[in-house]
């Protein structure tokens, strides 16, 4: 189900497709509702209703605290304060998230392609290996990167020896480390949708291109790549959204000056006790991401997303 499809279906409730769903008889007519309602209620209560609370919180008087309680004063200025105070981390979130998504695509596409077309009977094993590293805790993996990128570590010393890094050049606690961590941590979100869409491609189409004297590169550019676009779109979205909202990598691998919007929101909720500004920032982040997703999906013009 694509975002675009969802949006268009919201406007026009589609006619049920009789071929897709059999007409239920008698008592079975309500089975669908019985099955769907418990889960829908859960999502309604704990996903949709909280957004209402978040909007309400974002308009409270910022002078309150959790302990004294908040007053609803329709404080729209919370939004302007939140944005003007934090436009830098907000921008960094989108830049770091975007860079990580780009590198994930760069690393993930060859991997997904190799699994889909070149792995043969090792396909299943390779798929397991793609997910396997991500069964270790996200935080522990990120802490490992601290060690890999450490000042006295192998990577830094090699780069210094090659004079790519200067004498006192470092990797840890730089934006580079943050993007490296984000790229690493969200790679499977790129590889799996890419693989799913490459796997669906009819091999005869690629053979046909080669029969018609297309070179492998031309065949790839004209047949395989366009047919894998749904996977590229799904993968970039599934990578970008969590990467832009993440604060773990920025906290563990960056300096405070590399902080992303997640760090700010987390800080406001945590020690800062500044719930209204945190809520306003969360909603700004969500709105920006939604706008980007809609524009992106429109431009990519793809139908299948999830």
């Amino acid at each position: 189900m694509s975002v675009g499809q969802v949006a268009s279906e919201l406007e026009h409730e589609p006619e049920p497709d009789p071929a897709e769903v059999e007409e239920p008889e008698g008592g079975r007519r309500y089975t669908g509702y019985l099955l769907i309602i418990p889960g829908l209620v859960w999502l309604g209560l704990f996903f949709l209703v909280p957004f209402y609370s978040l909007v309400a919180t974002s308009l409270y008087d910022p002078a309150g605290t959790v302990f004294s309680g908040y007053e609803m004063t329709w404080e729209w200025s919370n939004y302007t304060t939140a944005i003007t105070d934090n436009w830098e981390p907000l921008l960094r979130s989108f830049v770091y998230g975007g860079l990580a998504t780009f590198f994930c695509l760069l690393l993930g596409y060859p991997l997904a392609y190799a699994i889909a077309f070149k792995a043969g009977r090792w396909k299943n094993l390779m798929l397991v290996l793609v997910i396997a590293p991500f069964f270790t805790s996200f935080l522990i993996r990120t802490i490992s990167w601290q060690l890999i990128l450490a000042d006295n570590g192998f990577v830094v010393e090699t780069l210094q020896w090659l004079h790519i890094l200067g004498e006192d050049g470092r990797l840890l606690n730089t934006p580079f480390a943050v993007v490296t961590g984000l790229t690493y941590n969200f790679l499977p979100f790129m590889v799996l949708p890419l693989y799913a869409s490459l796997e669906r491609i009819d091999h005869r189409l690629i053979e046909a291109a080669s029969d018609l004297y297309a070179s492998p590169i031309r065949g790839f550019a004209k047949v395989t790549l366009p047919l894998s676009m749904p996977g590229v779109v799904a993968g970039t979205l599934l990578t970008f959204i969590p990467a832009a909202g993440d604060f773990i990598n920025a906290e563990l691998l960056g300096r405070p000056s590399d902080s992303m919007i997640g760090n700010v929101i987390q800080g406001y909720f945590g020690g800062g006790n500044n719930y209204p500004d945190a809520a306003a920032l969360s909603l700004v982040l969500m709105a920006l991401i939604l706008v980007m997703v809609i524009v992106y999906v429109r431009r990519a013009g793809t139908e299948d997303l999830v």
């Binding site: 669908g32 999502l43 522990i140």
Partner: protein, 272 residues
């Protein structure tokens, strides 16, 4: 006939596989670090580097104060969240693929949205709900569980739905033709065929729940889950035992996934 020569073709064919394998190897580098550090005997408390080999961490996994309690809390929440999300999500997947009801597109949107929402936004909106309704003093195990069922649910629906949609409906028709009633058809044919999908969804839900930090941290009150323990220790000094837990998690999940995929392959052969 190809426009490039055979050796050229061989290189280009294998080049992509080699790049793929290199990327795969790269994803295992931090895992190697985790395994290595689980055998580390640190000399200074604040430097995170390999100083020497020891069995100590594996022999005394629960030595860091509060760590094993946190692991137990995470396992409890993980199991309950998996149970809740798998049941609710499987029912939803069946409704979406097999039944007719109005509001299908809205339902699809509501299922899709949690996957397209950054965790920090979901976490803060839930916190706003709990605080706004006067539950700020009750944040803890149950609020974490509520949150985990919520964010695991969509992933379960998508996974089970994919399996159900890929199911050959002729197998069910065959069962009906052979005079099985609906109930028998469901339990003898449909359910066993969908089961690998449900199992996969449950594994995914457990690992999402066990590993979650951002949403959990906002809604945990005084409860400490394993990722929260790791986060807390990363601010001070990191006990090497977290790497023991990390290595164990890795080994256990790889074993489960391998066993499941072997079983799945045998099952697929039996059906075919």
């Amino acid at each position: 006939m190809s426009t490039i020569s055979r050796p050229g073709r061989w290189v280009s064919d294998h080049l992509i596989l080699i790049i793929g394998l290199l990327v795969l190897a790269y994803t295992f580098v931090p895992i190697a670090v985790v395994v290595l550090m689980s055998f580390n005997a640190p000399e200074a408390r604040l430097t995170y580097q390999f100083d020497g080999f020891t069995w100590h961490n594996w022999a005394n996994p629960c030595e860091p104060e509060g760590m094993c309690d946190a692991v137990v809390v995470s396992i409890e929440i993980g199991l309950l969240a998996t149970l809740g999300a798998t049941i609710l999500g499987t029912l939803m997947a069946f409704a979406l693929v097999r039944h007719r009801f109005t509001g299908r597109s809205t339902t699809n949107l509501v299922i899709f949205l949690p996957m397209a929402t950054p965790e920090i936004v979901m976490g803060s909106s839930l916190l706003a709900l709990f605080v706004g309704t006067g539950f700020s003093g009750d944040l803890g195990f149950w609020t974490i569980l509520i949150a985990h069922i919520m964010f695991c649910l969509s992933f379960v629906v998508v996974t089970v739905k994919a399996r159900l949609a890929g199911l050959d409906s002729r197998l069910e028709q065959a069962a009906m033709d052979l005079y099985a009633n609906e109930w028998q058809t469901f339990w003898r044919v449909t359910f066993p065929l969908v089961f690998p999908g449900i199992l996969g969804a449950a594994l995914l839900a457990f690992s999402l729940s066990f590993d979650d930090f951002i949403i959990t941290n906002l809604n945990a009150g005084n409860e400490v889950t394993f990722p929260m323990f790791v986060w807390g220790s990363a601010q001070r000094d990191i006990p090497m035992q977290i790497n023991v837990i990390g290595t164990a998690m890795f080994l256990i999940s790889v074993l489960i996934v391998l066993a499941a995929s072997l079983r799945g392959r045998r099952g697929a052969r039996a059906v075919a």
